[in-house]
Symmetry: C2
Subunit: 209 residues, 2 copies
DNA sequence: TTTTTCGTACCACCATCGAGGTATTTTCGG
DNA sequence: CCGAAAATACCTCGATGGTGGTACGAAAAA
C-alpha cells in the first residue's frame, strides 16, 4: 500500500485561505498529493490539461465563469475526469445540474475535513459520493417540474423589478406571453405570486442575485 | 522586534477547511500565533473569555447565532476586544451594523492572505481597517434611509409571498398600514415594486433567504 | 409520422397593488 | 416639554398582476 503512487489532486477555488486549508489537509495524507491549484475557471482548465489530476475539487462560484461550466468543459474534453463539486450553498438546482454534467461528488464547505478526504478516496476509486443531507434535499425536488430556459430568463427579469410590459419589451415578446411564462413559473415553483417566485428561485439556486 | 510577544489570534468560523487555512497562514508568521479556534458563537464567547486574544477573526454566519450578535456580546463584556469580521458576502447593511457594533475590520474571504495579515497587524496596533471596495460600497448607501424594524418585518413577509391582506393578519394591523409600510420600503430602497424591494433587500443583506 | 413540449399570442375578468392625500397616537431625543 | 419620527388607519382611483380559456407553429421526442 505504501508503495502506491498518491492520489494527485487539483484544487480550484477563488478563496486563497480555503485553498490553503485544502492544501494542508490533502498534503497531510500519505496517499494524497496536491499537485496544482487554480483560482479561476480558465486557470482550472489549463491546469487540468497540463497535470491530468486524478481528482479535481471544483468550487461552484468562480470569478470568471460558473463552476458548472468549468465542469462541463472539463468533462467534454476529458470524459474520465473525476470531479468533486465544493460549495457553500445548497441550491438543489445546482446539485442536479452538477450531477447531470458528470460530477462524482458534491460537498458543502462546512463539512468536516475527514468527510472530504473520504470522498476524495471514494471518487478516486471510481465511486460516486453525495452526502445524505444533500441527497435528501435533492429528492425533495425530484418530482418538481424544471423551469425552461426562457422561464428562467423571465424570472431573472422579474427579480430585477421589471413590470410585465418592460419584460415584454426587453425580451421582444408580447406582454401576454410574459404573463403565460410567469404563470408557468409560479405553478412549477409553487409560488403564490411573482415575489415569492423570485424568493424561491433564489433559494433553490435557479437565479442568482 | 523579535523578542516581542506574538499577536495572539482567535479564529471563529464554522468551516473547518477555512480555519485550517487561517491557522496555517497565521502560524507561518513569526509575529503571530493562533491560540484558539471556535466553530460556533457560544464557543467563540467561551474561548474569548478563557484566552483573551489580541485579535479575533469572526465569521458573519455561524450555526448557532449571527456573527453580529457574537460581536455585540463580546464587545459588551470586553469593550477593548479587537475584532475583525470575515465574510463571503458584501451586504452593506451587515458591514454597517458590524462597524456600529465596534468591529475594527471587515474582510471578504476571497481576499489575498497578505491582506488578512496586514489587517490583523493594523487592528492589533489599534487601527481600523476596511478595504476600499467595501468602504466604497458602504458609502454608496451612506445617505440611504434605514428601514425600521417594522419595515424589515413587513419586507420579510413580502418575500414569503404573502399578500397585503395576509401580512396584515399576520402582523395584527390593517391592510392599509401594510401598504404604507411597503410604500416607505420601496421609497427607501429605490425599488419600483415589492418584488424588486425583496431582491434589493436580499442583495443588501437586509433580509435573508 | 404522430405526439408532446415550448414559445408565442390574444381575450375577458377580477383581485391586488401602488400613488396620493389626511389624520391620530405613541415614542423618543433634544 | 416639544417636535420629529414611527406606527397606525381610512379614503379614492388608476395601474398592474394573475386566472382561465383558446390557439398555432416549430422543434423535439416517441
Amino acid at each position: 500500500m505504501s508503495s502506491k503512487s498518491p492520489i494527485r489532486v487539483l484544487s480550484v477555488d477563488d478563496h486563497p485561505l480555503l485553498r490553503e486549508g485544502i492544501a494542508a489537509l490533502v498534503n497531510s495524507q500519505p496517499d494524497m498529493a496536491l499537485i496544482a491549484e487554480a483560482s479561476t475557471g480558465a486557470e482550472a482548465i489549463q491546469m487540468f490539461s497540463q497535470q491530468s489530476p486524478d481528482v479535481t475539487l471544483l468550487d461552484l462560484r468562480l470569478p470568471d465563469m460558473s463552476g458548472i461550466d468549468v465542469l462541463i468543459a472539463l468533462r467534454t474534453q476529458f470524459p474520465e475526469a473525476r470531479i468533486i463539486m465544493l460549495t457553500t450553498f445548497e441550491g438543489d438546482v445546482e446539485v442536479q445540474r452538477a450531477l447531470q454534467a458528470g460530477a462524482r461528488g458534491y460537498l458543502l464547505k462546512n463539512m468536516p475535513p475527514t468527510e472530504l478526504l473520504d470522498v476524495i478516496r471514494q471518487v478516486y476509486a471510481g465511486k460516486k459520493r453525495i452526502p445524505p443531507e444533500i441527497a435528501s434535499q435533492l429528492l425533495e425536488h425530484m418530482s418538481d417540474e424544471v423551469l425552461t430556459e426562457r422561464e428562467v430568463e423571465v424570472l431573472r427579469e422579474v427579480a430585477d423589478g421589471n413590470r410585465n410590459r418592460e419584460i415584454a419589451e426587453r425580451l421582444f415578446i408580447s406582454e401576454e406571453t410574459v404573463k403565460v411564462h410567469i404563470k408557468h413559473i409560479m405553478e412549477k415553483l409553487g409560488a403564490a405570486d411573482r415575489t415569492q417566485a423570485v424568493a424561491i428561485g433564489l433559494r433553490r439556486g435557479i437565479i442568482q442575485l
